[in-house]
Amino acid sequence: MRLAALSQLVRLSLARERKGAFFSAFGVAMGVGALVFFLGLGLGVGRVIRERIFPTDARLVDVVPPAVSLGSFLGGGKLDAAMVERLQALPGVEKTWRKMNVRAPAASLYNGDFFGRKLRMGMDVLAVGVDPGLVEGDVQMGKFVDPGPGQPLPGLISTRLLEIYNNTFAPARNLPRLAPGMLVGFTFPVDFNRSYVSAPLPNVAVISSQVQVVGASDRALLAGITVPLDTAIRLNREMGQDTETYSGVTLVATSPGAVPGLVAAVKEMGLEIDDQERRLAENVGAAVALTTSALALLSILICVLAAVNIAHALSASVRARAKEIGVMQAVGASRADVRNIVLAEAGVVGLAGGFLGTVAALLLALLIDRLAGSYLPQFPFKPESFFSFPWPVVVGGVVLGLLAAVAGAWFPSHRAAATDPARTLAG
């Protein structure tokens, strides 16, 4: 049977069964729409968690020395240059980035103009030095190297810290909201070996410095400043602290698949993995995925009900059209033709329902994003969109509508094909 003839027969049939077709398509649209909507919501929220709240790179492994180390006895656990070399030599390691804490408390007392507002504020800060390569993509001003004594220290701030500042601290203190670019070049004082809350190192002089913000980075320390590794080493040396061992090393795996092997190898070396943030991200992500799955399952159930409804409607239609089917057979329709006509009718209904449901889900998501943007108060990590609709979800929604309808039409189509023309046309 030709496609043009099939489409014409389907069009004629659907025109007659307009009401039933509408309700069948509506059922499919409900199921598909709900599924696409909830999947889009789950993926959107998951994306916010992955990319903004806990931005983790699947290839990164953060190695830290063990909290309680027997390394000196067992030949492991000390994160010094030799150990870094051993880590670099592990199979599956592409790069290693060293980190060293500034091993003294630090405090900042700011008293001056802060983007047009008068600000006087003091607070303790942490400082960590990192290999420039770890953050090279985020440095927007100058080179991320130690400038030497007496010069402003290049510092990176955490993008997440900036997000929290913008959406909680700034509105509460009537301070301006800041884009990352605005902060580049901003300088503030930091005194090393000074603290408002903890005891400074004994017999060590305070080192007063200026820190100049050179960018914002996901890889920067959340509650503190990130400076070049050489700066941290120099400060520690000036304060008589350990400059031989590192606070941590970030390994870059050749691929995400190499990470589990690396983790095992690192643990065998007597070191630990700092995966607290990754685990938190995974747990939150799992909770979102679980909720999304439950809602998706509910939506699929609606699709199944829509398929049952189509099966019911088409069964009734096939019974009512038995004579018409008999006539088609008398003028040349084969059983396959009859079956294809019924399946194509359902296919059109399913495609229409799938398309409308998907469009409705996209429009509803757009509406919710607009309403959230206008009426929800600002909060940290508030996304511009709560939804994510990759093309497989959109296309999958339409295809699911088609499949649900065709599945529903399967038995009615076979029943129609089994129509005995001699019996139905008799009399």
Binding site: Q329, S334, A422
Partner: protein, 231 residues
């Protein structure tokens, strides 16, 4: 045109009794013949027509129509046979109610090979049966005779050489029925083979040969005298 041998058709009745409705029936119809098969209701006339037209394949015996042996044909081959070699005309017309007259006539075109002239041919056939002016009307807006003429136009659409007619005037009044019979006679003169099952004398009197279906077999019957208006 038709050659049937030793046809046996039986079915089980509602009370479980086996009924042999055709019992060793044989039939020969030459090209261009106009044959009427008569017999009481339930004698198996329609069943015979369905067998010859490839609508019913559950029987014993051999049937050859228009040079095609029906036994063993696959469903698609049988469908093609019905589309190309046979036209059916039913007592109840069996037009599809939501299609216009011309769309009903076009129905066989959906299952045959594509032709850009299909609509023109359908309109020409409607013109031939005197219904071109009503081509866009739904069956419900046509009289019984008009519906049957649309059904005949549909049966002729693919140009079959055989028309199988099941009580074609059974639902028509005398005047309308006479018009339809005239149309059949016209088709017969053009060389189309007609096999009509009927229990109406005016129809059988128009045929050139009359067969009676009796106890599952066909017997020749003298042709009745012509009834008024039909020649």
């Amino acid at each position: 045109m038709i050659r049937a041998r030793d046809i046996v058709k039986q079915y089980r009745d509602v009370d479980g009794t086996e009924v042999r409705v055709l019992d060793g029936l044989s039939l020969d119809v030459a090209d261009g013949e106009f044959v009427a098969v008569v017999g009481p209701s339930g004698s198996g006339k329609s069943t015979l027509l369905h067998l010859l037209g490839g609508l019913d394949v559950h029987y014993q015996g051999d049937v050859e129509v228009a040079g095609v042996k029906l036994a063993g044909l696959k469903d698609k081959e049988l469908a093609r046979f019905r589309n190309q070699h046979v036209g059916f005309v039913f007592q109840s017309f069996h037009l599809i109610p939501n299609l216009s007259a011309v769309e009903n006539v076009l129905m066989p075109s959906h299952f045959g090979s594509a032709s850009p002239e299909a609509r023109g041919r359908a309109e020409a056939l409607l013109d031939r049966v005197g219904l071109l002016a009503k081509k866009d009307r739904a069956p419900v807006r046509l009289s019984g005779g008009e519906r049957q003429r649309v059904a005949i136009a549909r049966a002729l659409f693919t140009g079959p050489r055989l028309l199988l007619c099941d009580e074609p005037t059974g639902n028509l009044d005398a005047t309308t029925g006479a018009g339809v019979i005239s149309l059949f006679q016209e088709l017969h003169r053009e060389g189309i083979t007609l096999l009509a099952v009927t229990h109406e004398e005016r129809m059988s009197s128009a045929a050139k040969r009359v067969l009676r279906l009796k106890e599952g077999r066909l017997v020749e019957e003298p042709r009745p005298a012509l009834v008024g208006g039909v020649s």
